[in-house]
Symmetry: D3
Subunit: 131 residues, 6 copies
């Protein structure tokens, strides 16, 4: 149902297949998920996206699991079904517990609610919140 066919290894260009191989090496498994197979029609975009993902999601000042929680939050507000599924799986793979998932849901739901109230009431920002 994608707007482009998913490319398997044979159909992908050499440049795209090289990214598939980088994905396999980074993840220690053979499976390449549909997102990358759809992006493979544009190998430069595929490579740029994969490399950015590696940089941004690596351990740093924030824990990789926390980064996945943030990813789920963004994907939820954007209504991206694919992304909600794949990053919920990724968060679990990085140790998200059921209790943490529940609290994530509660925070997202609360933020949605107060976002709408602040917008519907057009509340002006307090001076003390300015940087």
């Amino acid at each position: 149902m994608a707007t482009v066919p998913l490319l398997n290894d044979e159909a992908a260009s050499d440049e795209a297949r090289a990214v598939f191989d980088a994905i396999r090496a980074a993840r220690g498994g053979d499976y390449v998920n549909n997102f990358w197979r759809a992006l493979a029609h544009d190998p430069a975009l595929l490579r740029a996206t994969w490399e950015r993902l590696q940089d941004v999601m690596a351990p740093g000042a924030l824990d990789p699991m926390v980064k996945e929680l943030i990813y789920i939050a963004v994907s939820t507000v954007n209504g991206c079904s694919y992304c909600v599924h794949s990053h919920t799986a990724a968060a679990r793979a990085r140790g998200m517990s059921a209790a943490q998932h529940g609290e994530l849901m509660a925070v997202i739901a609360l933020a949605m609610q107060t976002n709408a109230l602040a917008t519907a009431l057009q509340v002006e920002t307090d001076d003390r919140f300015q940087a």
Copy 2:
């Protein structure tokens, strides 16, 4: 510029002022920010929102600072200026460093990007991402 006047303590009903006092007690300070003063036109909504915030943002399986990061992510995607300002301030008050803020920005930006790609390509969810 709000769509309702902000209510100061004199203008607020007894029920709303009781919530203002609960906010002061919880935060250990006298200041009540504009959001609550706008909500005070509907004391029941004010109370329900404040009590929910207290429950959801308390320490639990997730750290309160992490909850604020999630809040910023949701508020950003919703484009809620007030909420971005107030929760960035709250995250700093709970210890968010400049490096953590930078990584939060990078994760949000990356998620926006892959959300749009997955949606524009209408990529179907892999079976392995199903619960």
Copy 3:
């Protein structure tokens, strides 16, 4: 701060000014609000938008005040500051009470919350909700 200058009556084309006059006639007043003055750079778009507004917002199976409540709800989720302001004013002009405004806020906030939960959990639609 608009991305186009607002056109006053002198600057507007004859075609745009004719729409300004239609707005004045329909509203029984001289004031033409900024939205129409910004649209006046494209008189065909100005006319099409004004005429559609007249058709859609007229009394019908739904009360004009209820239509304004729906308009506020959409404008809130889209984060359109101008629209939230103008349609909150319009709803009040059509009789929206403070209590109705409060309930509107509560319903919008609740819907935001359950929307996010259904999306984050990717809940499948029950058969009984299919038309």
Copy 4:
């Protein structure tokens, strides 16, 4: 296809099942829809969401059917498929006619259109729309 399994009555905790029973009692029927079964992994969130729904959607200054129209509007802008389906069904159950549904569609579509125009042109709010 949810990101969590839907919990049937056996799998649900006592606390969650008590909410299922409250849903049955309120609706006068045995069916508990998928949304609540997905939320049941976090009984506190399940309970808080159900109780808030009961409070907010009850008859008040706005008619329950009107509240459902507002709910559909919010759900549409958020692109929540589950919510559009379930609240369209709820609106019909509360008496929404085909003509009212058609007008709801027209108002939502119009608001989307003028929201985008006001945002793309960055029209400044008229003084007279300030509270």
Copy 5:
């Protein structure tokens, strides 16, 4: 799975069928796609939407293919699966190449990213960008 049944030619009113026939005449084929069959429950909305589409998407200062690219961009951000599918097909029918599709994806993804950064950092608009 729609919230209304799709109306075939027999089920549609005379007024709706006249629009179906206008669609067939404009497109030189017999097929009427689901969107119009869902809208046919409200013949006035069906007609207004079809006529607006004809006006707006006609060749003008912008090429019809470019208009389809813009349509895909909007539909992606709104997360409208139906619209992404139908307008990607329409863009291809108007000559969009694979390379153009790839660049469209890259621009949308980039814009999402910088939109979020500007919003999360609440960057104030430079004077020189004011009209």
Copy 6:
């Protein structure tokens, strides 16, 4: 009003200032706009964003002006005021005429409208639109 102070050349790190200089060289002028000065708190994010912008917005299969139109469309739906202003200015600098701006407005507004209708009616994608 940003959530971070804008960094001038003195306050920026060497790494950030190098990007400022790259921006000046690419644009042939001294001015560095606020977006980059806000991003400068995280020089790596600043560099990655600037380099990506250079790659993606360069002439290719799509004209740079067309890319700016797409950028405006995305920014509008996201409600990013800064981005709407800056990319409207950029589109004009690349030759966007008033007539083209007007048609862009009309296409965005139309897409918003049909996006909402397809979502509110939950229209299923026709087989012929599948890739």
